[in-house]
Amino acid sequence: MTRTDYKMPIYLQLREIIRNKIEDGEYMPGTAIPSENKLAETFGINRITIRNAVDALVNEGLLRRVQGKGVFVIGKKNELSIEEHAGFVGDSFRNDTRVSVKELQKSGREAGNKYANLFGLELEDEIYYIRQMHSMNGTETSIEEFFIPKKILPSLDSINSSVFTFRDILSFYGIKLEKMKQSLRIIKGSAKVRKALNVPEGVAVFLLECDFYNEKNEVIAHSISNIRSDMQSFTVNMHK
């Protein structure tokens, strides 16, 4: 058996121990976890290591530090099934979370180099640009941008993107959404995005980009979402 000795076994890592206690309900949402001193004593680990682990969970959005009061359990984050991320959605409920959508901008624009190449258009061809702010239970969570050639959805300007979903609108036009190619990155996020979403210092941003394809394997839309990583996580179902 291969074994390597580490100065501290990984399974003793405090971050995972605290995470398990939250998942197992030992640390209940709304309650404070033991103080750093108490944790240091219980696990025989120095306070810097404790602080380190707690900071990670605070930045993940599982714990919240309240000045002078302690560190409190927030509980589960909202989970989005990656298959369900299919273009814009209207106001909705996801689990117990109220998701509200505000259309910040909707305009026609020139395709420009990037989108002319992506959609197989001329530089001057018109595409729609929609920018939305999504909030969960009143907290701004993500900025979603959509790029759709005008020839795909000619009268998108008269349809409210915060009422109908992208799938609905495609089906109004008899367009079949065949597949989506998604990519998910962790980024720092631009100053503008961080400010608009009030991303706390030290918290990263998820950048989710998606290409939407019709049955002729043509890209019919593109989306870019900047999402607060302390407010949202993702699930994927795998099948072979």
Binding site: R15, D24, N113, K181, L184, T235
Partner: protein
């Protein structure tokens, strides 16, 4: 709201032009892009607009800056298929990358509450815990912790080593085929130990993927947690609608 054709915001236009410039010219990683002044002249944008566009692509890991030298194209991130760890290993090898793994710890432990719940076994059941670090082209990229029911898969850790793969062991010795599963993708931040193993700075954001894999009968094969360097990997999925 009535839409009208509007001019693309200069900042956005500059970002798109830069992205397109890298793509169309097929710029290889570590290629220096033309200096700010040349790009401003080429595209008719202001210096400050261009600088902001470069900043944003640097933040997003598409470009990187070298002090007093210029701006370069970053290495593309490796794809980590959302279909799981096994697909990731296969894809990386297919693309000609060199993979190696280093087992950090491998031992039999008693299932705690979380492990018992995930593996659907009694509390205290003997389970194998395997912790390993994977390197891609010599760079440490992931730390994976895998839990396997030792009563259902006795002797698993005798077969498993740094030169074998898990899936063939399950298939050959236990007639178990990994067929489905659920994965949760989250973010976490490297603790000191993880940072040392992954050769990154303390507190760097990491992907935190955890999940269970089921066999052909819908029984749990394993529970895993994978920490993945976010500067090296991008999660990708192709979803049929």
């Amino acid at each position: 709201m009535n839409t009208s054709v509007t001019k693309v915001q200069p900042g956005m236009e500059a970002i798109e032009k830069l992205e397109d410039f890298i793509k169309v010219n097929r710029l290889k990683p570590h290629t220096r892009i033309p200096c700010e002044k040349d790009l401003c002249d080429l595209w008719g944008v202001s210096r400050s607009t261009l600088r902001q566009a470069v900043d944003e692509l640097v933040e997003n890991g598409i470009l990187y800056r070298v002090l007093n030298k210029g701006v370069y194209v970053a290495e593309p991130r490796y794809p980590r298929d959302m279909a799981g760890v096994e697909a990731m290993v296969r894809d990386l090898v297919d693309q000609g990358n060199t993979l190696s793994k280093h087992i950090l710890t491998m031992e039999q432990i008693e299932a705690n509450k979380q492990i018992a719940r995930k593996l659907k076994v009694r509390l205290g059941t003997r389970v194998y815990e395997i912790v390993k670090c994977r390197k891609v082209n010599g760079v440490p990229c992931t730390i994976e912790t895998t839990y396997i029911d030792a009563e259902r898969y006795p002797g698993f850790i005798d077969y498993y080593n740094e030169d074998t793969l898990m899936a063939p062991i399950f298939e050959e010795h236990y007639d178990t085929y990994q067929t489905s599963g659920t994965e949760h993708i989250n973010v976490t931040y490297a603790t000191q130990d993880e940072a040392e193993i992954l050769e990154i700075e303390n507190g760097t954001p990491l992907f935190y993927a955890s999940g269970v894999v089921l066999d052909q009968n819908g029984e749990v094969v394993m529970f895993y947690k994978q920490l993945i360097r976010s500067d090296k990997f991008v999660f990708v999925a192709e979803v049929e609608s």
